[in-house]
Each structure stands twice: as structure tokens, then as C-alpha cells.
């Protein structure tokens, strides 16, 4: 499974990237995990479904109908923002697309958990500080396209 994160409110360009990231993950035979709601989360799930992939949505509330219509398996955690830690933990790698503070927290949590995080147009983090803390699997990489992002996410250790 590959986790994808990004905001509820996203630009056309981000939504387009998310759709293609979802499609490519599904075509590579992996399931998509995301926060299950709108914006980037909806686009990545729709992309995965367009390639007959499987989608899991880790929801902040208790109502499974909060999930967007492309989520196969909604997991209504009721954990509020703490559900971001589960999104980060669920993928063997994380792809971040655009995004604000929720996405920033998922990037931090995933890196703390020693995961590879690939981003398309998400937060630029200070190179020197990153270099001090990266290692043991934790690496933060910028990708220029959905193709590069998915390739870099799958390149990492299984």
C-alpha cells in the first residue's frame, strides 16, 4: 500500500497530479491509502479506481459516509487530526501532493516513522536540517511528475 496525502482544497494542477498518481499506483498493482475526504484525497482515489485499483480512506470522524465516492474501504477512526498518524503509518511510502498544515504533519510523521516521502509541489523543507535527520529509511524527495513520484515511492525498500 502507498499513502497519498494532500489537502481538501487543491488547485486543478494538484488534482490532476493526484489523479495520475492514483492511476499509476493502481497500475503498479498497489492499493492507495489516503485521508478519504475531498480534494487531493478524492482525486487520487478516483485515479486509482480508473485503473481498477483498491482505495482505503482513513477518516477523522465516525461516519463512513464522509468518505468520497471512490473509497472502497472507509475506516472511520473518530481520532480527529490524530488520524494523520495512521495515514502516514499505513503506506510503505508516502506521496504528498500540494498541501497545507495537515499535509505538513503527515510528512513529519511519516519521516519520523522512517518512511520515504516523495512530494509533488508540497512543502520545501530546509536542506541542511533535512540532511541532519534523514536516514534509516527516512528521506524527503521532490518529484517533477506523477510518473517520477510513483517510481521514486516504489523504488524504496519493500
Amino acid at each position: 500500500m502507498i499513502s497519498v496525502c494532500g489537502p481538501n482544497e487543491a488547485s486543478e494542477r494538484e488534482l490532476d497530479a493526484a489523479f495520475n498518481v492514483g492511476r499509476l499506483i493502481a497500475e503498479a498493482g498497489h492499493a492507495v491509502v489516503c485521508g478519504g475526504r475531498g480534494g487531493v484525497m478524492e482525486a487520487v482515489a478516483a485515479g486509482a479506481k480508473s485503473a481498477h485499483g483498491v482505495t482505503i480512506g482513513i477518516l477523522p470522524g465516525y461516519d463512513p459516509s464522509e468518505a468520497n465516492s471512490s473509497i472502497d474501504y472507509p475506516v472511520p477512526t473518530g481520532l480527529g487530526h490524530a488520524r494523520n498518524a495512521i495515514v502516514a503509518a499505513s503506506g510503505r511510502a508516502v506521496i504528498a501532493i500540494g498541501g497545507g498544515f495537515g499535509t505538513l504533519s503527515e510528512i513529519g510523521l511519516a519521516l519520523k516513522m522512517g518512511k520515504r516521502v516523495v512530494h509533488i509541489g508540497s512543502w520545501d523543507l530546509e536542506p541542511e536540517r533535512l540532511a541532519r535527520f534523514e536516514g534509516d529509511g527516512a528521506v524527503y524527495i521532490s518529484a517533477k511528475s506523477p510518473e517520477e513520484a510513483v517510481r521514486l515511492a516504489l523504488d524504496g525498500p519493500t
Copy 2:
């Protein structure tokens, strides 16, 4: 999705019931959510797979390989015992099979969330106290067989 809970260490009879519960949920076209580990959780997932169902395991730790081999989608939450709340929240109904204190907590959490809980040989709860708190969807019912348990679980509101 239907949640199934029960202990890591279970009797032959409980494992048998769990396998059949898993099989029947899958045959009815639903996914099984469970705690993802051994005992009842492994048997119910194996039963679901025997009928080509889908299985999701909500794990207490961060390592997806802690999931039993019949789990399609492991969700490694890292939440420890608090993951029981997510198992309880994920199904539209919960089936409890046998079980000790972890299962007791999942029964309590699911009832608190207003869910229908059907059990096969799990905790007998005081009828008068139950009656005082049941309602708004929360009901605790004993079933004599896997068939009855799955029928009662699916009978509830969607």
C-alpha cells in the same frame, strides 16, 4: 464492512465459529474488519478468504507484517490498545467471538458508538444494566451459531 473481534488465544470451537463467520460475511458480499492478528482474528480472515472476501486488519503496532497471512489490507496504526476503538468503529455491526478483556473493551466501545453487537460465546452482560443503556442502535445480542450471528449482524440498519 462488518467488524469481528475475539482473542489471540482461542479454543477450537471459537476458531471454527470464527472461520464460518468470516466465510458467511464474505458470501454476503461484505468485507471483514478485525484486529489483524492471531486466534479468532486469523480464523475469521481465513474464512473470509475461503469465500473470496476482502479482509482488513487494524494492527496495534507499526509493522504490517504483524498481520496474519489472510489479511489483504493491514492498517498498522501504532496506537496500541486504542486501536480497539477503530476496530469497533469500522464495522456497521460488530460480531464478538469468545474473548477476554480486549474483546470486552471492543464490545463496550461498539455499544457506546451505538452499534449492534452480536456475540457467540462472549461475555454475558447483566440484562438489567444492558437494558438501561441499550437504544439508538446499541444492542447486545447472543447468537447460537455463525449463521445466526451473521444474519443478526446484517439485519440491523445499514
Copy 3:
């Protein structure tokens, strides 16, 4: 710290017991941890404050003002029902007073964590099943009075 759990809606007798449990815990020099809201949680906190004790409330939401007015330190977790696991984990022992499904889940979680749980008029659990799972610190004991409850809670291993 000693955790105390019980429902938002409680009888006069339960509220009275809770107040005295809080007072006695404080007099013994311990802090009270509870769910921070009304009913038993409010009464136990008020009792602790009457004896100049310290009270910590583990809240389900994000708003610290949800805490009752006797809570010194509200911890707004935002975790919903999963916050019950933190209430159970925070005390070296747990005292349950009356209570419905939320309290049942806290009893189950605390016993699963290997804690001593003393109750005053809470769920009667099946003696044979209890005996099978008790051990390693996990024990479920009925107390007849606040004095007995606090004594039994403090008697356990530190």
C-alpha cells in the same frame, strides 16, 4: 495517579460515591485522572478538589472548556471514544463507579493493560471468564464503599 471512570448521567448515590472516592484519593496524596466531563467525572473531581487534590481530565474533543470546573489540567485529545484507552492507561489502578458502555470499555481496556480495577456498583462480570483472564496485575474487584474502593486501589503494586 488513580483513574476514575463512570458515566455522564449518574444517580445521586453514584455521584455521592464518586465525590468521596475523589476526596479519599486526594487525601492519600494522589492525583485523580478521569474523562473530564459531567456526572461521575465531575463528582470525583469535585471531591478531589475538596481535599486540595489535583485533577486531570482526558477529554474526547479539542475544546478544553468542555472540562468540568473541577479539572485542573484538561487534556483535550480530540480522539473521541479512543480517549477511553488513555483514561485507562493513566492510572496505576482504575476505580469504576456505576456506568454504562463507556465505563465497560474502560474496564476492559484497563484489565487488558494489566491494571487492577475496583468497582462500586459497576458491571458484574462473569466470575469464571474473569478468572480465566485475570493475572499479571489484572484483577476486577467489587468494593462496597468509597473507603474500601480507594484502599483496594492503592493496595496494588505501585
Copy 4:
């Protein structure tokens, strides 16, 4: 309560800043909430105790003895990295000192929750992206000294 976050492994300068931040929060009459462990978390708690303040440690595991010796009230959550969400949620403002990926996640979570985050030598975040998402209480401010950090943290809405 004011939350303070920062890494287990910190420089002398960061530890010194943390001690003074803790001292100043206590002198202003507030409690300190932190992750309860070593490094910045230990220094801020020691600083608060030096001024007779109160310290609460939100621990990732179940063992209260994991808390550093300046923590008055350890809250052993068992939630792993998801406990960062509770650290972020517990303070009316958050002060970040130095820090790696865990601190980054707490910054993201606190900003997502609409909190004021003041940092001393923590992550520099892109000004344009910040400006797009700040608002509704969420603001990320750099402070040059412990005095300035505590003043800015307390300046915000109560």
C-alpha cells in the same frame, strides 16, 4: 497550559533555551505540556520545576516511568507517534525549540488545529505557503529568545 516540543537529542543551546522557556512559562503562572521524555522535553520540564511550575508529559508508551524526572503528571498514552497530536492539542499555544521530524509533525498538527506556534530555531517554513494557510488563529512565528517566545505565545487569544 502551553505546549513545548523539541527533540530527544538537542544541542546545548537548545537545551538552554528550553530550560528558560519552561522557567518563564511557570513564572507566568502556566503549566507546561510536553512529550515527557529527554532532550528539550526534559530541559523545559526542569526549567518549569525550577520556578515551581507544573509539568505534564504526554508519553508515547504505557510506562509512566519513561517520563523524565521533572514531569509531575505523566500521561502514558500508548499511542506511539499519534501522541504528538495530543501534545499539539493540549496547549493554548505551542513553542517549538529546535527539532527534527517529530517536532515538524507537532508544528503541522498545531497549525492545522488553529494554534499559534512560536519557534526558536526550529524549521523554517516557506513564507508564501505559510501565508496561504495561516489564519483562524494559526500562525507560525520565529522568536529570537526564550523571553520573546513566551511573550509571543502568551500574547495570543486565551
